[in-house]
């Protein structure tokens, strides 16, 4: 009798425990910290599209938008970790130190930091996308489609991510058209439609007939549409904003990664990782190609896309020289991730200096 009581007591405890664990596992809560407003239709907007994919997969999510990259970030992170979130995605480079600091205080909460490189604690992972692969495709298109041989490029801030994009774009454009010039204008903003439009207008007035951008708003493609030149969408498919101007867009697709990682927490299989995914893994997506592009170019782009995805082609394949003519990558070699991550010099063919 006594034994039976104990046994049933223990088994019910076990049952209760399993039930609770199951309940917890089902109720994984994910939080997202955004640098901008979800209404920017750019960087933050695309992260939020990813968050919605996590919701659609049956998990609860919360987000905090417009969090400055300062001590404020720490406060927000601590609050999210305290309020029962199991995994927290911090989606801007400047959250790197706050993320690691708060991760130390909450070893049971998983942290995922976008575009950073510090993983100081076992519960911190980092992830980023190889957007430069997309820019290799844009460069190929731009070099082929330009008639004036002047390509305009509206840049945001002189950081490796942006420099890498300019280089990858220019290398690809030079490959198909050695006569092109890439003119770069720094807007010193990620996000100011008026300024971005003015920068694009200046480039167009100076003869650029294809405009690339590394800022977030749709103002540039609209300006290109008005002026009758070509452009490329940034972060999301911008075709509907400028149907004639936009040849294709490079889309940021975070959804699959987010769903994957949240599921991993639910299954208990989450582990520390450093992810840098490109076209091959679907984190960088090339939108539909515009019909104004000649069919042989479309075929070429499709093949390039497949080769970048399979790894047969690398955006930075030697020989690559810097502006002064020094060899950066030797013939037959490709730039390693370390070099890409810290890239702060222009390749040969880019005009002007990097602002210091």
């Amino acid at each position: 009798m006594h034994k039976f009581l104990i046994r049933s007591f223990v088994s019910s405890l076990v049952l209760l425990f399993t039930l609770t664990v199951a309940a917890i596992a089902k109720d994984v809560k994910a939080a997202f910290v955004y640098i901008g407003p979800t209404g920017d239709h750019g960087w933050t907007y695309q992260h939020d599209v990813g968050r919605k994919a996590v919701e659609a997969a049956g998990f609860k999510t919360t987000y905090v938008e417009g969090v400055p990259e300062s001590a404020d970030a720490e406060r927000v992170l601590r609050q999210l970790a305290n309020s029962g979130h199991d995994i927290i995605f911090t989606t801007s480079f400047g959250y790197m130190n706050p993320t690691n600091k708060v991760a130390k205080e909450f070893p049971n909460v998983k942290f995922e930091h976008a575009t950073g490189y510090k993983r100081e604690h076992p519960n911190v992972s980092t992830y980023a996308a190889r957007f430069y692969e997309g820019r290799t495709i844009l460069g190929t298109i731009a070099g082929t489609m330009t008639k004036s041989n002047v390509i305009g490029y509206v840049a945001s801030f002189p950081i490796p991510e942006v420099i890498r994009g300019i280089n990858s774009f220019t290398l690809a454009a030079q490959k198909v058209n050695p006569n092109i010039k890439t003119k770069i204008v720094w807007a010193f903003t990620w996000y100011d439609p008026g300024k971005e439009a003015e920068a694009a207008k200046a480039l167009i007035d100076q003869g650029a007939d294809v405009i690339a951008q590394h800022t977030d708003s749709t103002a540039i493609v609209q300006m290109a549409e008005k002026a009758g030149v070509y452009a490329f969408g940034q972060a999301s498919d911008m075709d509907k904003f400028a149907p004639k101007a936009v040849l294709t867009s490079v889309e940021n697709n975070w959804g699959p990664y987010y769903v994957d990682r949240v599921k991993a927490v639910a299954n208990g299989t989450w582990n520390q990782k450093d992810t840098w995914h490109g076209i091959g893994d679907g984190m960088v997506v090339i939108s539909g190609l515009d019909s104004q592009m000649p069919s042989d170019l479309q075929a070429k782009v499709k093949k390039l896309q497949a080769d970048l995805a399979s790894g047969k082609v690398h955006s930075f394949t030697g020989p690559i020289y810097d502006q002064k003519g020094n060899l950066m990558v030797a013939e037959g070699k490709t730039a390693d991730d370390g070099m890409l991550a810290g890239m702060m010099t222009y390749v040969k063919g880019v005009e002007g200096d990097i602002p210091k």
Partner: protein, 310 residues
């Protein structure tokens, strides 16, 4: 690089287009300030105008409804400011700042459903005449009606303040509300009207951004232009013609520095980016350095609350 006469015309036309929102908002705020009210909510009223214009355009499909709706939205939000500062006698500075924060917040909330929708094309006038005259063609022709209105506004404002009875009443209220009140002028009524007018112009400036200049809605799309408009009013020493000059210099340097970058001028980009702010202030300070004139044109009761019984 191509320097021909039409290229210069194109640059001047883009400079003028970028000055439009500043001129509209500044001239509106100038009237408000001339009546003695300091409304720091320009940025908030502008962004409300931007989302209202864009939303109405998307929902109703009518550009006319959208433009007037944006002005009406500016009037409505500035009426909150008017009620607080004039009827409840709150502090102008604090209320104006609150209005900006409120405007940015509420525009983001309304705007949630309008992100990622392309705007409509806004009709331009005299497009066909653009190529008829070298240099002047692109400057004079092929712009929206709001553009022409903005460039007429400083002259209308100047005439209104100097030559019309109502203009003189506005200035009297701003200079000495007590005397104006003793003359039988309803100070509160005048100030209410001036605040609402300022709201309408800020709303129009916002609508210009979201409907004509960069036809789209994204959060915070005014990008601080409301604050620049406010600064222009002060640095122009409450003179509408100098507002026009200041707005052109500011817009001009923003655009010219992009051209200098594209040409490859070896000047640090950060310096070029700061240039519009620095030069606009210097020029306006220099052209307005006559202290007697400043004293004459500064509304002496600016920012001070007025109670009828004191």
């Amino acid at each position: 690089m191509i320097i021909d006469i039409n290229f210069i015309g194109l640059i001047i036309a883009s400079i003028m287009a970028s000055a439009v929102p500043l001129i509209l908002a500044s001239c509106g705020e100038l009237i408000t300030e001339r009546s003695g009210v300091l409304n720091l909510g320009v940025e908030g009223m502008m962004i409300i105008g931007a989302i209202s214009g864009f939303a109405l355009m998307t929902v109703t499909g009518s550009l006319i409804i959208a433009v007037f709706g944006a002005m009406l939205a500016g009037v409505l939000i500035s009426s909150i400011f008017a009620f607080l500062t004039q009827t409840l006698i709150t502090n102008h500075v604090a209320t104006g700042l609150a209005l900006t924060i409120f405007g940015i917040g509420i525009s983001a909330m309304i705007g949630k459903n309008f992100v990622g929708i392309p705007g409509k094309e806004f009709p331009v006038l005299f497009e066909g005449l653009k190529d008829t005259i070298p240099l002047l063609g692109p400057i004079l022709f092929g712009h929206s009606i709001v553009f022409y209105f903005a460039f007429a506004l400083p002259f209308i404002t100047s005439y209104f303040l100097k030559k019309t009875k109502i203009g003189l009443i506005v200035r009297a209220v701003g200079d000495s509300p007590e005397s104006a009140s003793n003359q039988g002028i309803n100070v509160k009524l005048v100030r209410y009207a001036c605040i609402l007018y300022g709201g309408a112009m800020s709303g129009l400036a916002g609508a210009y951004l979201s409907m004509i200049y960069t036809p789209q809605w994204i959060e915070n799309m005014t990008g601080g232009r409301g604050w620049i408009a406010l600064a222009l009013v002060v640095f122009s020493t409450w003179n509408p013609i100098k507002i026009l000059i200041g707005a052109m210099i500011f817009g001009g340097l923003t655009i010219i520095q992009f051209h200098m970058q594209a040409i490859g001028v070896r000047i640090p980009v950060q310096f070029l980016t700061a240039l519009p702010y620095i030069v606009t202030i210097i020029v306006l300070v220099v052209i307005s350095r006559d202290s007697r004139k400043i004293r004459l044109s500064t509304p002496s009761s600016l920012g001070k609350s007025f109670h009828k019984d004191n």
